[in-house]
């Protein structure tokens, strides 16, 4: 199988499978799991091509940039695709059980029938986004992603989920328009929408500055950086559990990826020091604010959702830290790897939370008292995912924090050092609030039986998030390929 088929397969196979799942509803679940397996294969093959050939381009329609649209893959995008594949596989497996439960199918079966096409198209959108070299095409993929995310939230059908979905829609669509306006300005100056061509020409004049601000604001809104996070907790907490896992784990990473790409590959980032510092400070505020809010929550899924607000903050530290040449390599790697390990840990946490909510029939943390005895596997999965969120060794998040800490120390930005450490402590508080509750002794009513897949999938995913700390050399090797030129390539 050639590179062409691999890279196209990553985008088109889930799309085709989504269509098929929509038409032939009966086999949708099997189709989705099969696609997921195939995607993992493709994703690793793609990484193989990148490892052996360096960054690669594929000209759709044969025209090539700037006239046509190119696909582009380098280490960062290949890693994101692998992340999507593995988390997606886990979510697919989990969902086969989750949506088989009548309660989650709600009153009408059509919900279940719709979930699989939505899921597959979302997947296709994610891959299309990670592999695109064209900033207008990125807009289209962002829209594809957002619309499927909105539909997934609405799938829960509760009043809260509908409100959350609507709010998300309004915010995300305005954000897209901000982004699009930025793209329009850039196109009207440089006459191209290919990010490499743009990056080579970009100046720092007034239209460029406006475009940068517009694109940043749009992507920040989509990534829910504090204080633009207000839509996130409700949306992520009220969606069905597999959808929450996708949204928190992957969808947010997509817009962050675009920003990371833009910042280091397109924007003249040496001129953006002040904005970078601002983003870093907002990130720090997000860590503290999100964690404190998570600690205060009464509902399990809201707790996990606020934890996402906090964890997103870590990603944005890179924009401040990387402005020092001595720290840029560590910071960039740290942020990239953090987004991967967070995807695993957060998806696992949401799925485990979904299983716990199903088992107890209640969304409240207080109703989890003593559940460790009856649902040991799920609680263990949640705790392990929590280790990934706290960034304790040997998880992948630990290594990312290690890199970020290194960057903050070598750039002399002590403030961020303190915030990173404080964030870990606060994360420990909210994770152990749940874990401690589950250990509480006392009589409790028997829980509902949780299907095996809904117990073990989160556990496997959580173990993977820990495993990311052990196998980090390979992904970091991959990240070196095509890493932004502005960044020192030696640690």
């Amino acid at each position: 199988m050639s590179f062409e088929l691999t890279i196209l397969g990553l985008i088109l196979v889930p799309l085709a499978a989504g269509i098929a799942a929509f038409i032939v509803t009966r086999f949708a679940a099997i189709l989705a799991v099969a696609t997921a397996l195939l995607q993992s294969l493709f994703a690793f093959r793609l990484a193989g091509y990148v490892l052996s050939n360096g960054p690669l381009r594929y000209k759709i329609g044969g025209w090539g940039a700037p006239l046509g649209i190119d696909l582009y893959v380098d280490g960062l995008s290949a890693l994101m695709v692998i992340m999507t594949a593995l988390v997606g596989l886990a979510v697919a497996t989990y969902s086969t059980s989750y949506f088989a439960i009548p309660e989650h199918g709600r009153e009408h079966r059509s919900n279940v029938d719709i979930f699989w096409p939505l899921f597959l198209i979302l997947w296709s959108a994610l891959n299309a986004l990670f592999l695109s070299a064209d900033i207008f095409n990125l807009y289209v993929t962002l829209e594809l992603l957002t619309l499927s995310a909105i539909a997934l939230i609405g799938l829960a059908g509760t009043v809260k989920s509908l409100q959350a979905a609507l709010r998300y829609l309004l915010i995300a669509m305005s954000a897209s328009l901000f982004y699009l306006l930025g793209v329009a300005l850039l196109y009207s100056v440089y006459g191209t929408v290919d990010w490499e061509l743009l990056g080579a020409q970009m100046q720092f004049d007034l239209p460029d500055r406006c475009a940068i601000v517009l694109i940043c604001v749009g992507l920040l809104l989509k990534t829910a950086l504090f204080p633009l996070h207000f839509w996130l907790p409700a949306a992520h907490a009220n969606a069905p559990a597999p959808a929450s896992a996708l949204l928190s784990g992957l969808v947010l990473k997509a817009s962050f990826y675009v920003l990371l790409r833009m910042w280091f590959d397109v924007f003249p980032y040496a001129d953006l020091r002040a904005v970078g510092n601002l983003l870093g400070i907002l990130g720090a505020a997000a860590i503290v604010w999100g964690s404190v809010q998570a600690i205060r929550q009464q509902h399990l899924k809201l707790l996990v959702a606020y934890s996402t607000v906090a964890q997103i903050g870590y990603l944005f530290l890179v924009f401040s830290l990387a402005s020092e040449p001595s720290a840029s390599w560590n910071a960039w790697n740290g942020a990239a790897y953090f987004s991967v390990s967070h995807a695993f840990a957060k998806a696992a946490a949401f799925m485990a939370a979904g299983s716990l909510v199903f088992a107890t029939g209640s969304a409240k943390i207080d109703d989890l008292a003593g559940i460790a005895q009856q649902q040991p596997v799920t609680v263990f999965a949640f705790a392990l995912a929590g280790v990934g969120l706290m960034g304790l060794p040997p998880s992948g998040a630990f290594l990312s924090k290690w890199l970020l800490l290194n960057a903050s120390l070598s750039s002399g930005k002590w403030f961020f050092t303190a915030v990173i450490l404080l964030g870990s402590l606060l994360a420990a508080i909210y994770v152990f609030r749940v874990v401690a509750k589950s250990f509480e002794a006392g009589e409790r009513q028997p829980t509902r039986h949780v299907p095996a897949l809904m117990q073990w999938t989160p556990l496997v995913l959580a173990l993977l998030s820990i495993g990311l700390g052990i196998v980090a050399t390979r992904p970091l090797e991959l990240l070196k390929i095509g890493a932004p030129v502005a960044i020192e390539k030696t640690p």
Partner: protein, 94 residues
């Protein structure tokens, strides 16, 4: 000729902005929707003026026509009583 076009452009832009503002400012939702549809139709003129006939066509059919129909039907739907009892039940189930 050029002056005439200039006037036309300015009037067009002015009415677009005015319509947009009125759409958001009128108290009556139905009126706002109608204003929105008119906005779409005037927009088609603007597209034509900017040598974008493809978009003018698309705007008339999709932007004004279908979006307008969608908005109107949405407006009609939410002017009817809902089924509140069910919602409370749904809420409790979660």
């Amino acid at each position: 000729m050029s002056n005439l076009l200039w006037t036309f452009d300015i009037v067009l832009c002015g009415s677009l902005v005015w319509l947009a503002w009125q759409t958001l400012a009128t108290a009556d939702l139905f009126k706002a929707t109608v204003l929105f549809i008119i906005f779409g139709l005037i927009m088609a003129l603007a597209w034509a003026r900017l040598d974008a006939p493809d978009i003018a066509l698309a705007e008339t059919a999709i932007g004004a026509g279908l979006t307008g129909a969608l908005l109107l039907s949405g407006l009609a739907a939410i002017s009817q009583p809902g089924t509140r009892q069910q919602s409370i039940k749904l809420d409790r189930e979660k």
